[in-house]
Symmetry: C2
């Protein structure tokens, strides 16, 4: 396996509007909700988004490029983790309120019931 390293924005380049855009999708909200609940890194396969593999890859990339998650290759797995420390410092309370709302409205936002394009 190769030592592939994916690009992540440094914390000082994380922008509120880009974070909000990254969160503004039911599938991406489910990823963030899951990772927040897990409290640890998880592979993409741990989260059932009911969308195609390429769409799944796209959603994770949007979250990573906005600074919401980290993606690190560990062995054969790409592991995803929330950038909670960065987000909590930059936008206090934002992640918690979004995750709580996503939990509360999970039935409305579950990708299985609302397929994304």
């Amino acid at each position: 396996m190769t030592a592939r390293v994916l690009e992540h924005p440094p914390a000082e380049e994380i922008r509120l509007d880009e974070v909000l855009h990254a969160l503004a999708d039911p599938a991406r909200l489910e990823i963030v909700r899951f990772l927040a609940a897990a409290g640890t890194e998880a592979p993409c396969s741990a989260i059932d988004l009911a969308v195609s593999k390429s769409t799944t890859t796209h959603h994770y990339r949007v979250l990573r490029e906005a600074g919401v998650i980290t993606q690190v290759y560990r062995g054969t797995s790409k592991m995803n983790g929330l950038r909670r420390a960065d987000l909590d410092r930059l936008f206090p309370g934002l992640l918690d309120s979004v995750v709580s709302a996503a939990e509360a409205h999970r039935a409305d936002t579950a990708p299985a019931s609302r397929p994304t394009p």
Copy 2:
């Protein structure tokens, strides 16, 4: 003048992903930040977005259709107000965290320095 009434989603139809999408734009963040700071209704002309009139109209419509603001004709003015009670009940803490972050990062998100398409 006509008694025009603009459509607003009922509170039970306001969706987290649509609210986040509406907030995910520097000009729309500035509108929400301004209305939160004002604590009252304001006409579109009160908020300088440094974008064209049609773009301004678009931004307000996105916010209204997502359930973030009300738009009501009063005399010759279209008055805009935050749906704070609805948003705070549906997504506790979300609006406050976004407004605080927008205040803190205002220099980064001011539309004058980052024109929107």
